[in-house]
């Protein structure tokens, strides 16, 4: 394996001077990353919840939804971002469409599994108690499906945070822009900062989601 780039300037893995004078840049990329992730996860959930509920009732719709979004899921994100550029430009929309699509698959699957696993006895009991279908859904089934939905949320959040870095190729990237800058300019510091902050962001987000889960569904076994 060849040695790395052969410049005489000894490029430390973190140049603290550079970091100190570029805090606004780092914060701006971090913010962009959070924004892109939040929109993708929230929109994905907003689509997946109703979609999952409807698909749960209908076997054929369920198959169709899983098939369509499942195939979408196997397409590499790089290809989707690149292919959308001529249609939606070098914009947040281009980044969000694939990200939301992936999240819908992850979340719909978990919504379906969650609803599937509601014990039949509970459903019978609810019916027996006089719950109408919509009330039964909102007050019995969905709450019981929460652990599974939260598990899906955690997967969606961490996945999205990783995928956002790839949008650097279309001029966005969040923290990925730092990574990309490090690559193009043969510069270690932005690469390391981008990489480390992405990991930290993902770990923090995952922990926050786990904490939110414990708050919302305290009876659930930790996933």
């Amino acid at each position: 394996m060849a040695a790395g780039v052969f410049l005489d300037y000894v490029d430390p893995w973190i140049n603290w001077d550079w970091l100190g004078s570029h805090v606004p840049l780092v914060l701006a990329t971090l913010w962009q990353h959070v924004e892109l992730t939040a929109v993708a996860v929230v929109a994905g959930l907003a689509i997946a919840l109703p979609l999952g509920v409807i698909a749960h009732r209908s076997g054929s719709l369920r198959l169709a939804v899983l098939l369509v979004f499942g195939v979408f899921y196997t397409i590499p994100s790089l290809a989707l971002f690149a292919a959308l550029v001529p249609y939606t430009g070098l914009s947040g929309t281009t980044a969000e469409i694939p990200l939301i699509g992936y999240n819908v698959l992850i979340l719909v699957r978990n919504v379906l599994v969650g609803l599937d696993e509601v014990p039949k006895d509970v459903l019978d009991a609810a019916d027996g108690m006089g719950y109408r279908p919509r009330a039964r859904l909102l007050r019995v089934e969905l709450p019981l499906a929460m652990p599974s939905i939260f598990a899906g949320l955690r997967v969606a959040i961490v996945s999205t945070i990783g995928l956002v870095t790839i949008t650097a190729i279309i001029g966005l990237g969040g923290l990925g822009a730092l990574i990309y800058k490090g690559l193009i300019e043969s510069f270690h510091t932005p690469l390391v900062v981008g990489l480390v902050l992405s990991i930290v962001l993902a770990v923090v987000a995952d922990l926050a989601a786990a904490a939110a889960q414990r708050l919302a569904v305290p009876w659930a076994r930790a996933a």
């Binding site: 397409i75 590499p76 690149a82 599994v113 961490v158 790839i166 490090g182 270690h188 690469l191 990489l195």
Partner: protein, 235 residues
Amino acid sequence: MSLLGLVWQWFMDPQHWQGSNGVPTRLVEHLHLSVESVLIGAVIALPIGIALGHYGKFGTVAINISNTGRAIPSFGLLVLAFQVFGLGDGPIILALTALAIPPMVTNSYVALREVDPDIKDAARGMGYRELAQVLRVELPLAVPLIMAGVRTSALQVVATATLAAFVAGGGLGRYIVDGYATQVYQEMVAGAILVAGLALATELVLAVLQRALVPRGLRLLKAPTTRRAAVFKVA
């Protein structure tokens, strides 16, 4: 001509099926990167996960390692590998292996933990010694979940290998990166179709392999844990 028409033409063009930028070459490159990474990853991850699961040690680490593993952006890891080790397949495989290891460690750990303790007792009672017990009793029962881990890793690696093109790697990602740089959409779409196809094929092959490896008795029991095996999108 519509984009789909152009893509069709791209696939029909014999030029695209020969030479160093032809589909067979790129496919082989992609497979080479993926298979090596998953194999090396498995050689490292499975023994560790199995051992930890069998003895029940370091559970929190084993379970959380895949959490931390998925938190690493694959793009950044590839660039890091390039900056540390330079050009070539080696650094790329190193990065991909690092990504492949966590799911396999976690899944094999959980797989071994979920083996019914009564069965383990029975085996011990029958006189099985440690290694034999693991190999002949616990492993066969753990295969479904272990294979789920291997499948997860394999899919992640196949998807991430497309990013190798960013650091002058070969593979099917070249069509996407080069197509984007020159804005030749049919090349991009063709590359996307090829990678998606490869991912589906990988899934199929490993599903068949899993069926072959799972002992018949188990196959009849539907293991509910495999349904929950979440496939993370990392590239």
